[in-house]
């Protein structure tokens, strides 16, 4: 039964995660690393939200919070409209993850069939005598031959391992998958295969993806919506087409400008960002980006900009957003 009014599969409201930074035993809890500092987004069924940003901006922490691998310090997560308070088996079944490093995310002493059998056993998904068939089906769905089942992960190539990781994720029929840089550890030659596999699975199974990446070209290809994170906050969120046509936030502009283009001569203006990312333990006042922003004004040091609409579902958190030409 399909309803016409679409409700998001996943809603995230004001997600917060602070880590205590203990310098020594005597000086406890004085500093906090604000890894994720109040972010919100929705993901619809069959759609992909890409979360981009540089290392350390809180992308992976966000993923772990959504997966309930870390405890929230604030905010709410709704899965299919229901508030998620703890990681029930039902929740675990609905939401899965594809990990970045296919070498580290498969239990090394398990054969592929044990890796794929485990979710079936834990969730009691099919009767024991049908598990074998289920495993074969899942392997076929990710484009692996069934003889892979009796191999160990270290006997497989990176691409095969990542396919096994994807097979494990889809074997429980989830509605939502977090893809944490699913291809960044793979050879360039097989990235496209894995990405196309993910896109095919999304289409066939109506999966919603949270796609975490720092590869903007990839994001342009796979996502429906882009959210740019900087130091634990979303600074810009827009439909993918809009975003790549004209990013509004100065940080997004810098990010886009820094990505490589096929013809280096065609690069428009390239103003490299100066300085380092501010420490998440010691955030600047006002706007977090002002220390590196080429457009910063006095107001930026005082008032923290909030996300506001710049039309057409495009949101940006910058005081000078109206002055920025696309």
């Amino acid at each position: 039964m399909t309803s016409i009014v679409k409700a998001p599969v996943l809603e995230v409201r004001n997600l917060v995660k602070h880590f205590d930074l203990r310098r020594s035993w005597f000086q406890q809890g004085t500093q906090k690393v604000r890894a994720v500092d109040g972010i919100s987004f929705d993901i619809m069924a069959g759609k992909t939200l890409a979360l981009v940003g540089e290392s350390g901006c809180g992308k992976s922490t966000t993923a772990k919070l959504i997966l309930k691998l870390l405890q929230l310090d604030g905010g709410e997560i709704y899965l299919n409209g229901e508030l998620v308070s703890e990681a029930t088996p039902e929740f675990r079944r609905k939401i899965q993850m594809v990990f970045q490093d296919p070498y580290a995310s498969l239990t090394p002493h398990f054969k592929v069939k044990s890796i794929l059998r485990e979710p079936l056993v834990v969730h009691d998904i099919c009767p024991p005598q049908e598990r074998q068939n289920h495993i074969q089906d899942v392997l076929a769905a990710v484009g692996l031959s069934s003889d892979i089942a009796s191999r160990y992960p270290h006997e497989l190539s990176g691409g095969q391992r990542q396919r096994v990781g994807i097979a494990r994720a889809i074997s429980v029929n989830p509605t939502f998958i977090v893809c944490d840089e699913p291809v960044s550890a793979l050879d360039v030659s097989i990235r496209a295969q894995i990405i196309n596999l993910l896109l095919d699975l999304q289409e066939n199974r109506n999966l919603a993806y949270l796609f975490i990446s720092h590869d903007l070209d990839l994001v342009a290809h796979v996502s429906d919506t882009v959210a740019v994170m900087y130091l634990g906050k979303i600074v810009e969120k827009a439909p993918t087409g809009d975003f790549f046509a004209g990013p509004k936030h100065p940080y997004s502009k810098a990010l886009l400008a820094s990505s490589l283009v096929p013809h280096p001569g065609n690069r428009k203006q390239f103003v490299p960002l100066v300085g380092e990312v501010a420490s998440a333990a010691n955030l600047p006042s006002g706007c977090r980006f002002r220390t590196r922003c080429p457009l910063a004004i006095d107001k930026c040091a005082v008032i923290e900009p909030t996300l506001r609409s710049v039309g057409n579902g495009h949101l940006a958190a910058c005081h000078r957003v109206d002055e920025i030409e696309p």
Partner: protein, 294 residues
């Protein structure tokens, strides 16, 4: 190939125990086994290999040199030394096996608790530290003096002495792997703590623990002999190798076989177990591989 519903441990558990993928039998393990296996067979089949009673006293036969009737001679009570040596092997192996079984059981249990729960780690950690500050044998003597000499008590004191090493080994593996990405991945799939620990994490500790236990076995044989030598171990007239040596001291000039035979047995048993332990360690640690070739 059919799936087995009663399949509790994945086949991979067993292969991780044997380290199947890099399983290349190490020369030291082979050499150690070649010594140990005859010793074990001798102990197990002692009653078939000799018809003589290791306890029967015969004053007319005392202190006889090795001969066809008594290949290892007789002691000052006229008891057959070969029979006593064979039955002595039973005691040594029983103590070694019993204490290592207990050590493995409780060592893994406390090691897992210590690695998993931070609060328990503090308590168990201090406990293992305080056990390890004593020189091993001195603590064994203290325990035996407190609870009295018997074979079971030897097993208990060896267990108490050796358990900190196993606890630490297991704890180290649990701490190393509890935040590993494959553990996180399994948790994402919905695997519970118990299954995570016993199927995903503990098999990674199996190798190091086996190494510890084979060294511990050798040590247990030595401690049993030492305690019996001092009269604190297996009480007479049981034919413990340690008490045989102790008895033989008075006849060291006149009856060389009395002290030599059990001494050689202790040496062989400890040597073989240490060889196996060393070999296993080299097999598990590829960086030391070259050293393991004999």
């Amino acid at each position: 190939m059919s799936t087995d519903p009663a399949h509790i441990l994945p086949e991979s558990f067993w292969s991780s125990l044997s380290g199947a993928r890099r399983f290349r039998l190490n020369g030291m393990v082979v050499a150690g086994s070649l010594i140990l296996i005859p010793l074990v067979l001798m102990a197990v089949f002692a009653s078939f290999l000799t018809f003589l009673d290791p306890l029967s006293i015969d004053a007319s036969q005392k202190l006889l040199a090795p001969s066809w009737a008594h290949p290892f001679g007789t002691d000052h009570f006229g008891r057959d030394v070969l029979a006593r040596t064979m039955y002595g092997a039973q005691i040594s192996l029983r103590v070694g096996f019993g204490s290592m079984l207990l050590t493995a059981l409780f060592g893994i249990l406390f090691g897992v608790i210590s690695g998993w729960y931070n609060l328990a780690d503090v308590i168990i950690g201090r406990f293992t530290d305080s056990l390890m500050i004593f020189p091993g044998f001195v603590l064994a003597i203290m325990i035996m003096a407190a609870i009295g000499p018997s074979e079971l008590n030897v097993i208990i004191s060896v267990t108490v002495l050796y358990i900190p090493r196993v606890i630490r080994t297991v704890r180290a593996s649990v701490v190393e792997f509890r935040d590993a990405e494959f553990v996180e991945a399994a948790r994402t799939v919905g695997v519970g703590d118990f299954r995570l620990l016993f199927l995903h994490i503990l098999p990674k500790a199996a190798g190091p623990v086996m190494v510890q236990l084979s060294f511990g076995f050798a040590w247990a044989v030595l401690v049993e002999a030492g305690l019996s030598f001092l009269g604190l171990g297996t009480p007479p007239p049981a034919p413990s190798w340690g008490s045989m040596i102790s008895d033989a001291r008075d006849f060291i000039r006149s009856a060389w076989w009395l002290i030599t035979i059990p001494g050689c047995m202790i040496t062989l048993a400890v040597l073989s177990l240490n060889l196996i332990g060393d070999g296993l360690r080299d097999m598990l640690d590829p960086r030391l591989q070259s050293r393991g070739e004999l």
